[in-house]
């Protein structure tokens, strides 16, 4: 029981150390104008969390393959409408509830998407909802 946990811890520690080394590259954000000192620290913290949370909750559907690489598309501001995002798009129905992504987490994701470096990839025209499953 204990061993796998220790193994996981070792992996986490490794990831933490290596990600620190690459943090310059990983933290590709545009600081909002006028953000400095404590508010810059807070911003970076939100942005960093948002990046992880985006990958966990959204990337699976939204990341776009460009030349074999997954790219995070550029969402535009009006698309990131707070809670409305949770139910506006049929694909989000039942997927973006507060028990899936909390209010604070969604805020972090929005900070990330809004201030990440542009990828130049627009949000792909997404597939229509699937046809209803056959009932048997």
């Amino acid at each position: 029981m204990r061993t796998p946990h220790l193994l996981l811890l070792a992996i986490i520690a490794f990831v933490a150390v290596t990600s620190r080394c690459t943090s310059q590259k990983e933290l590709a954000y545009d600081l909002p104008p006028g953000t400095e000192g404590d508010s810059a620290t807070a911003f970076v913290e939100h942005w960093r969390k948002g990046k992880v949370l985006y990958a966990l909750n959204c990337g699976g559907c939204h990341d776009t393959l460009v030349n074999g690489r997954k790219v995070v598309p550029d969402f535009s501001l009006p698309q990131l409408l707070d809670y409305e995002m949770r139910y506006q798009y049929p694909a989000h129905d039942d997927r973006l509830r507060e028990v899936d992504v909390s209010i604070a987490e969604l805020d972090d994701i929005q900070v990330y998407l809004q201030y990440k470096k542009r990828s130049g990839v627009p949000v792909a025209p997404l597939p229509k909802p699937q046809p209803p499953p056959k009932v048997n």
């Binding site: 811890l9 992880v52 966990l56 949770r86 139910y87 129905d93 209803p132 499953p133």
Partner: protein
């Protein structure tokens, strides 16, 4: 007894109807759906015309005379009938405009679930219910009446907008409208919640049920590929026949049978249709409702709170068991308090249904007096959208953080508490091992600790009562209990604030928590009003003074004393408060009381029946024994701490 044959039949019908079905939702589905949209437009026009006629009547008649008032009342009733004919659509498709057509209160402060981090906002009601209430006031003025109805007419026009009517072109909205309609049948339409004249509740219900049958017909014509199956329509028809056979008198309506044998089974079927047809929502009206809930009385009908907090995405059973183990230990651990002497269990004793039945209000931190409010039971706390009796918190974890650091309650310091927890190797190992599940958090935080605590105690919200089993499984109940429920829904008017199915202040579509002013006294003898301003402390507005969040009634027989200040020791005293019209009915000055000050005239026998019903809401809670030991700390001073705290 309850037709279990409906499910297989429904599935069969569904299967037949879906053979070689192509899911096309655009106009290419043909012109058929126009038949359905036509009915909508026809009814909308009739509703507008009835309101225009009402405006003309108000213009011609003198509301100061009996004859004038009678004519206006007839006009209101006619307009209400047209509204009810399309209530199924109106309520769901544009809820904000609907409030202007049929708002039950002149002013409402709302904080809905998805906006709960925002300030409550004020909504002014208008429309037919208010016009009717106003008509009975002395000094009623024609222009005020006109204004109420004009606002309603203007709101009605909104329903002709393209943004709304285009939703009629696909079938999805219909099933969601129908589901909400059924929930309103269970919780609102039969309780006089928005029909001040109780003599018309049942006649209006009858007429509405038949009008909805017309909508079903048009829907099946318009959307033959996703029809309401025959089994559903047959059952719906049986519901109409049931209500037709009921007496007109509101106080004699059999709510129990209506809910158990008609609305309940219809709800189960509509949920199956929503799942089977792959219905998708685009409306916040469905925000809290769960498609997986099989029955109205299943605990997962709607989601109030996120019990797992930071661990929300964990589904691995071993990890969940570990979170629960840590949470249980922490719940009983006085390490979380400033003086190391109090734990969550100090005021929310698991052996007393997670409350303290021994004290009206708890002792304050360091024995410095007592706290102003009763400690509520934690069982089912997560079925609320706003927490605390004044609704000041939006999440269980924020609530826990507040109590922990409140100098009058647990007197802890957020940084120190986390350090103390992490000083116990058992806790440290446990939480660090769980970090893989929260990759956005590089280290263990207080939020992890609080999330484990909320996860532990919310496990106790998953249990059911004899009443639930009677509703869902047809289990027998004593006749006194059934009569008590019918009183609860009818004559005693309890259900106009304690809504089906959780009997708390969360009403369909279950996206907000309600507050009420009932005039709770400071002492059992009603010498004065409780000075506690309640909701006003969070949202200072004249309407909110002395308002408290409506509490849930599950397990209520086990959680005395009652009310925000624990002033009453027995259920009977509480029933008496309502029977005599709240504080205002007892002569206290409560200008904004939301409870009618009129007496209910409940007999002794009826009060006993109400109590019998409330006892049937006691859930089958398992024992919640404390852990046999608390984790050792590296700080030896803590190793003598008491399990559950000292006071």
């Amino acid at each position: 007894m309850r037709a279990t044959w409906t499910a297989p039949l429904l599935l069969l019908t569904l299967a037949l109807s879906m053979v070689s079905v192509r899911w096309s939702s655009g106009p290419s589905a043909g012109e058929a759906h126009e038949a359905y949209a036509d009915l909508y437009r026809t009814r909308l026009a009739a509703f507008s015309e009835a309101q225009q006629a009402l405006l003309a009547t108000i213009g011609q008649q003198d509301p100061a005379t009996d004859d004038g008032r009678a004519a206006i009342r007839r006009g209101i009733q006619e307009a209400r009938a047209r509204m009810k004919a399309m209530d199924l659509w109106l309520r769901y498709l544009e809820p904000i405009s609907y409030k202007r057509i049929n708002g039950p209160l002149p002013v409402e402060w709302e904080t809905e679930v998805f906006e709960k981090y925002e300030k409550p906002y004020k909504r002014e009601g208008a429309g037919l219910t208010l016009a009717e209430l106003y008509l009975d006031e002395s000094g009623v003025r024609r222009d005020s009446l006109l204004q109420l109805v004009q606002a309603s007419l203007a709101a009605t026009q909104v329903f002709a907008a393209d943004s709304i009517t285009q939703r009629l072109a696909t079938p999805d909205h219909f099933f969601l409208c129908e589901r909400l309609f059924l929930l309103d049948l269970a919780a609102i339409y039969t309780t006089a919640f928005e029909c001040p004249d109780t003599g018309r509740v049942i006649p209006e219900l009858r007429a509405m049920l038949k009008e909805v049958e017309g909508i079903h017909e048009a829907f099946n014509t318009g959307f033959p590929r996703t029809p309401l199956p025959t089994a559903y329509r047959a059952r719906y028809h049986a519901a109409i026949a049931f209500v037709d056979a009921q007496p007109d008198a509101f106080s004699r309506f059999d709510h129990f049978l209506f809910l158990r044998d008609h609305v309940g089974p219809l709800f189960t079927m509509v949920q199956e249709l929503i799942g089977g047809y792959g219905v998708r929502s685009r409306s916040y009206m469905d925000y809290a409702l769960n498609k997986q809930a099989r029955t109205i009385f299943s605990k997962d009908l709607y989601t109030g709170q996120d019990a797992k907090g930071l661990f929300r995405r964990v589904s691995d059973p071993a990890a969940l068991a570990e979170i629960e183990r840590l949470g249980r230990s922490l719940f009983f651990d006085p390490l979380l308090s400033g003086n190391g002497q109090r734990s969550c269990a100090s005021c929310h004793a698991p052996g007393m249904c997670f409350t303290d039945t021994g004290a009206a209000t708890p002792i304050a931190f360091d024995h410095s007096g007592i706290l102003p409010r009763n400690a509520p039971s934690l069982v089912n706390a997560d079925l609320n959208h706003l927490l605390m009796q004044d609704g000041r918190h939006i999440s269980l974890q924020a609530q826990a953080r507040d109590v922990l650091t409140n100098p009058r309650e647990m007197g802890g310091d957020a940084v120190k508490v986390l350090r103390r927890v992490m000083d116990c190797p058992d806790y440290r190992r446990g939480f660090e091992a769980l970090l893989v599940h929260t990759p956005q958090e590089p280290a263990v935080t207080l939020e992890h600790v609080l999330s484990a605590v909320t996860f532990y105690y919310t496990r106790f919200s998953g249990y059911r009562s004899p009443f639930d089993r009677a509703m869902d499984e047809g289990a027998m109940l004593a006749p006194e209990v059934v009569r008590g429920f019918n009183l609860f829904m009818g004559k005693a008017q309890c259900a106009t604030c304690h809504f089906v199915p959780q009997f708390n202040g969360v009403k369909p579509p279950y996206i907000g928590s309600e507050f009420e002013v009932i005039g709770v006294p400071e002492q059992p003898a009603y010498a004065s009003l409780s000075p506690d301003l309640g909701r006003y402390e969070v949202n200072p507005a004249v309407e909110t003074a002395h308002a408290f969040r409506t509490g849930g009634l599950r397990n209520i027989a086990r959680t005395a004393p009652y009310m925000h200040n624990g002033v009453f020791r027995s259920l009977r005293e509480v029933i008496d408060l309502y029977d005599t019209g709240g504080g205002a009915g007892r002569g206290l000055e409560v200008p904004n009381q939301t409870l009618s000050p009129d007496p209910l005239h409940l007999s002794e026998r009826e009060k006993e029946q109400l109590e019998a019903f409330l006892h049937a809401l006691n859930e089958d809670l398992p024992p919640a024994p404390p852990p046999t030991a608390l984790p050792r700390s590296r700080d030896k001073a803590f190793d003598t701490r008491t399990i559950g705290g000292d006071y």
